[in-house]
C-alpha cells in the first residue's frame, strides 16, 4: 500500500496547509488492511466548502460504522496545492491515510453544484484514475456519484460508472454488499455494474442508449438490455428518527463555511415554490422528532466541543414542533454557552417570541427571501407571502434591535417584466420608509438593507424545467437597471448580484444531456476547474469547448422546451409526476397559488413513498392516510 509523503517543501508553500493533513478530532482511524471495502468519499470542491456539507458527515458516519468498510475523505486541492502536487508527481490522496484514490474500491462524488463538475475530472486525473468511465478496467476503482445534481446525471454520464439517485443512507449498504459479492466472484467490471443496476435508486448510464432527433432534442432513452429498468426511482429514508445521524462529526482545525453542529429538523419542504428544485426532489416532507433532536444536540456538543448549533432544513419555521423544541433546546444551549442559529425562518410566520429568545444568545443579521419584487410575480412562483407580511416582519426585527436585513431575490423568473425588477428596489425603499420611526423609538440606528439578486436558473424536476433562461445580456440589463435605481435613491441599500456568465453555464449543465460530456471533457483539458469561483471561471474557455464540439450553449440554457419533449432526465423518477409539474407550470402563468402540503395534498405523486407528511394523521389530507 502506498502512502503519499507530505513535507514542508509542499505544505509550507501553500495557503492553509491544514486543509491537507487530516487528523482532525473525530476522524475515523482504521487499519486499511483489516477492511474489505475502501470507500473514498470525494467532495469536488475546496475543503472549507466540503467540510461544511452535512451529507458527507452522514455517509462518512454510516459507512464507518461497518466493520468491513473504511470510508475516507478527499477534497479538491486548491490550485496552489494542485500545482505543487503535479510538479512533484504526487497523486491525490485521502486525508485519513494519505492513500492515493486510485487504490480505493469505490470513489463516491457528491454533486452539490453543477459548477464543480470540472473538479471531478481534475480530481480523478490527479488521482491517477482514468477520467472516462470506458477507459477504466478491473484495476481501477468504481466511480459513483450522488447528491441533488444527480437527478439529471446525463452531463456526467461519460465519467461516472454509476449514479445513486436520492438519499444514500440505506442504498449505500446495498451497494457495499453488492461490491463484496462481486469482489469475491472474480467476474469482470461489467458484472458489478449489472449487479448494482438491479438495486433500486442506482443508475448505470452505460446501460442506456440515447437517440436524438436532427434538431438535437431527444427521441428516446432506451435501456440496452432487459437487465436494467426503464426508469430509475430515487431512494429515500422513510423514518428519519431511525436513520443513523452523526453526533461525532469531524471538527476541522481551520474555519470552514459552516463550522458548527448541524441539526437536521426535516427533509423536504411543504411549500412548493415553483423555482426551487430542492422543494420538489426531496419530497415527501419527513420530520425528525424533537426528542431525537434534543438528544443529538446534547451528545454532539459533548463529542465535538462546538459552541454553535444550527438548525438545518429548507424552511425552519415549518417544523411542526418548533416552539416546544426551541424551548427545550434554548434551555440547554444557554446553560452550555452554545449559540443557536436559526436560518431559513420564513417571513410569514416569523415569531417575535422565538426571535427574542434566540437573540439572548446572539443577535446576528437577519435574512429574508421574498424571491420576487412584486406580488404578481411572487404568485407566479407560488411564494405565498405579501408585502405586508414582509413589512411587519422587518418592523418587528428593527424594533427588536436588528438594524441590518438582507433580502434575497431572483431576477429572470418566468413572466418577469422590467416592472417586476423595479419592484425589488421599490420593496427596499418602502421597507426603509416603514421602519423610519421605529428605530428611533428603540434607540437604534436606522435600517440598513442589502438587496441580493441571484439569476434564476431553471432546474430539472421543477414546474419551470421547460422554461428558457434569460440571456446573459438581458440579465445584465436588469442588474444594471436595478443598480442605477437604487444608487439614485438611497445609500441605505446595498445591492449585490451574481455573474450571469456563471449562471448561464450552471443552467446549461443542470438541464444538459449526455452530449455535454464532450464539452466538459474539453473544457477541463483547456484548464477549467473551480468554475464556481469567480476568479477561476472563464466563460471564454467554455465557449471554446462548445465550439470545438459543435454544440451551442443557448440550446440548453435559453430554449423553451415543449411539454411533450423528451427531457434528458425523463428516465429518472423522483416520485413527483411530470403531469403535476405541467399543471404547476400552467398555474404559474395564471398566477394561481397551490396550497402547501401542510394545508392539504395537491397530488404531486410523492405519496408513493408512503412516508412523512403524506401520511401524517393529524393533517387534513385528501390523499394517503
Amino acid at each position: 500500500m502506498m502512502r503519499v509523503k507530505l513535507d514542508d517543501t509542499l505544505l509550507l508553500q501553500v495557503e492553509k496547509p491544514a486543509k491537507y493533513i487530516g487528523n482532525e478530532w473525530n476522524m475515523v482511524k482504521k487499519d486499511p488492511e483489516s477492511v474489505e471495502v475502501r470507500f473514498a468519499f470525494a467532495f469536488p470542491d475546496d475543503y472549507e466548502i466540503g467540510m461544511s456539507h452535512l451529507g458527507m458527515k452522514i455517509l462518512y458516519h454510516i459507512l464507518n460504522r461497518r466493520e468491513d468498510t473504511y470510508c475516507e475523505r478527499v477534497f479538491a486541492p486548491w490550485v496552489d496545492m494542485e500545482r505543487l502536487m503535479r510538479e512533484k508527481g504526487l497523486p491525490l490522496y485521502t486525508l485519513e491515510t494519505y492513500t492515493p484514490i486510485s487504490e480505493f474500491d469505490i470513489i463516491g462524488f457528491t454533486l452539490q453544484y453543477e459548477m464543480s463538475y470540472t473538479n471531478i475530472l481534475n480530481m480523478l486525473d490527479l488521482g491517477g484514475v482514468p477520467v472516462l468511465a470506458k477507459d477504466r478496467n478491473r484495476s481501477h476503482p468504481f466511480v459513483c456519484a450522488g447528491g441533488p445534481c444527480a437527478v439529471n446525471p446525463e452531463p456526467l454520464a461519460d465519467f461516472i460508472d454509476f449514479f445513486v439517485i436520492g438519499e444514500g443512507e440505506e442504498v449505500i449498504h446495498e451497494i457495499i454488499d453488492a461490491y463484496k459479492d462481486w469482489k469475491g466472484s472474480g467476474q469482470d467490471r461489467n458484472a458489478f455494474l449489472e449487479l448494482v443496476a438491479g438495486i433500486e435508486g442506482v443508475y448505470v448510464p452505460s446501460m442506456y442508449e440515447i437517440v436524438y432527433y436532427d434538431d438535437g432534442t431527444i427521441m428516446d432513452i432506451m435501456p440496452k438490455s432487459g437487465k436494467v429498468p426503464d426508469t430509475v426511482r430515487k431512494r429515500i429514508v422513510t423514518d428519519l428518527d431511525s436513520a443513523d445521524f452523526p453526533d461525532d462529526i469531524i471538527v476541522p482545525y481551520i474555519g470552514t463555511v459552516h463550522d458548527r453542529i448541524m441539526l437536521e429538523l426535516f427533509r423536504g419542504c411543504i411549500r412548493g415554490c415553483r423555482f426551487c428544485q430542492a422543494g420538489f426532489i426531496y419530497r415527501p416532507v419527513r420530520e425528525r422528532s424533537p426528542e431525537k433532536l434534543n438528544e443529538l444536540a446534547r451528545s454532539s456538543v459533548e463529542k465535538t466541543g462546538y459552541d454553535e448549533i444550527s438548525l438545518v432544513s429548507l424552511s425552519t419555521s415549518d417544523y411542526s414542533a418548533l416552539p416546544e423544541f426551541c424551548d427545550n433546546l434554548l434551555e440547554f444551549s444557554e446553560k452550555e454557552r452554545v449559540n443557536l442559529s436559526l436560518p431559513s425562518l420564513r417571513v410569514d410566520n416569523f415569531s417575535l417570541g422565538l426571535m427574542e429568545r434566540a437573540s439572548k444568545v446572539r443577535k446576528s443579521g437577519l435574512t429574508f427571501a421574498p424571491e420576487a419584487g412584486t406580488q404578481r410575480l411572487r404568485d407566479v412562483i407560488n411564494k405565498g407571502i405579501t408585502d405586508e407580511d414582509l413589512k411587519s416582519s422587518v418592523q418587528l426585527a428593527v424594533a427588536g434591535g436588528w438594524n441590518s436585513v438582507k433580502l434575497y431575490f431572483m431576477i429572470g423568473l418566468p413572466t418577469e417584466t422590467m416592472q417586476d425588477v423595479e419592484g425589488i428596489a421599490d420593496l427596499g425603499f418602502s421597507l426603509i420608509e416603514s421602519c423610519r420611526g421605529i428605530a428611533d423609538k428603540h434607540g437604534g440606528r436606522g435600517l440598513n438593507i442589502t438587496l441580493s439578486t441571484s439569476n434564476f436558473v431553471p432546474k430539472p424536476f421543477t414546474p419551470f424545467q421547460w422554461e428558457p433562461m434569460d440571456s446573459i445580456e438581458v440579465l445584465r440589463e436588469k442588474q444594471y437597471h436595478l443598480k442605477d435605481l437604487i444608487r439614485k435613491r438611497t445609500r441605505r441599500i446595498r445591492y449585490q448580484y451574481h455573474d450571469p456568465e456563471i449562471s448561464h453555464m450552471e443552467a446549461v449543465l443542470s438541464r444538459g444531456d449526455r452530449r455535454l460530456g464532450r464539452v466538459i471533457h474539453t473544457v477541463w483539458k483547456l484548464g477549467a476547474r473551480f468554475d464556481g469561483w469567480d476568479e477561476h471561471f472563464s466563460f471564454e474557455r467554455w465557449q471554446q469547448a462548445f465550439e470545438e464540439n459543435g454544440l451551442n450553449s443557448s440550446f440548453y440554457a435559453n430554449r423553451r422546451r415543449d411539454f411533450s419533449e423528451v427531457l434528458p432526465w425523463d428516465h429518472i423518477d423522483t416520485g413527483v409526476n411530470k403531469g403535476f409539474l405541467v399543471r404547476e407550470c400552467q398555474k404559474a402563468y395564471e398566477g394561481d397559488l397551490t396550497r402547501n402540503c401542510a394545508n392539504g395534498c395537491s397530488n404531486c405523486g410523492a405519496s408513493v413513498y408512503q412516508a412523512g407528511i403524506c401520511f401524517r394523521k393529524d393533517k387534513n389530507n385528501s390523499q394517503g392516510g
Binding site: 509550507l12 471538527v251 481551520i254 459552541d307
Partner: protein
Amino acid sequence: MARALRFRFSRDERLKYLAHLDVLRLFERALKRSGLPVSYTQGFNPRQKIVFGLPMALGLTSSAEYADIEFDEDITPETFISRLNQALPDGIEVLDAVPLLKKGSIMSQITSAKYEVSFDVPQIMDPDEINGIVISFMDNEDITVMKKGKSGSKPVNIRPLIYSLSARKADGDGYVLDAFVSAGAENNLRPDLLMKALSQKTGLDLSVGSIHRRAMYASTFNEWKDPFEVAND
C-alpha cells in the same frame, strides 16, 4: 488546588500547519469537550478566560508554549493536565501546570524566546565557518530590515532584539541556528525575519527548514526567568 493555572504545552510536526487562530479555536473546543469548569467572560459574547503567552506562527513547532487559564472551581494541576490532554488531538500536549494565585497576564510577562532554526546552504560548509559568519553578523551595530506591519513595511533595526546567536551542525543534514531573541507584545522578532536578515547581510544563501521554539522567558530586573517562576509575581 487553584482557581487559575499557568500551563506549558508542546506542539509537534503533526499540528504545526495550524495558524495561531486555529490553535486558539482548538483549545476552546478541547476545553469544552473536557468538561473542565473554565470561567467565561461576562457580556454579550462570553469567551473562555484563557490567555496565551505568544502567538504560534504557522509552521512552528514548540516544546515551550505557555498559557494562563481561569476556572469557576478549584482544580488541581494533575486533574487539569489529564482531562485536557484526553480532549486534545494528537500533536498538542499539555506538559506541566502550576497554580496561579493571582491574576497575571502571561502575555505581558513574556519578553524573550529561544528558537532552533534548521537551515541549509547550497555548498557544503564547515559548521565553524558558518558560525564565524553568524558571529560577525552579530558584530553589526545596525541590522535594518523591512518589517511588514499592519500599515505596510517599514525599516526596523533588529540588532537590539537579538541576544545571542550561534550555528552548529544538525543531527541529520544541514545546520541549526540557536537564537535567543526578544519576543512578546512589544519588540517581537520573528525567526523568519531574523533568517532573512542573516541571509541579506551575510550573503549566505540560506534555505530555512523547520523552526522550533524551545523556551520562552519573562524578565524581571534584567533577569530571564522561566514563566512558571514568575507565575505569582
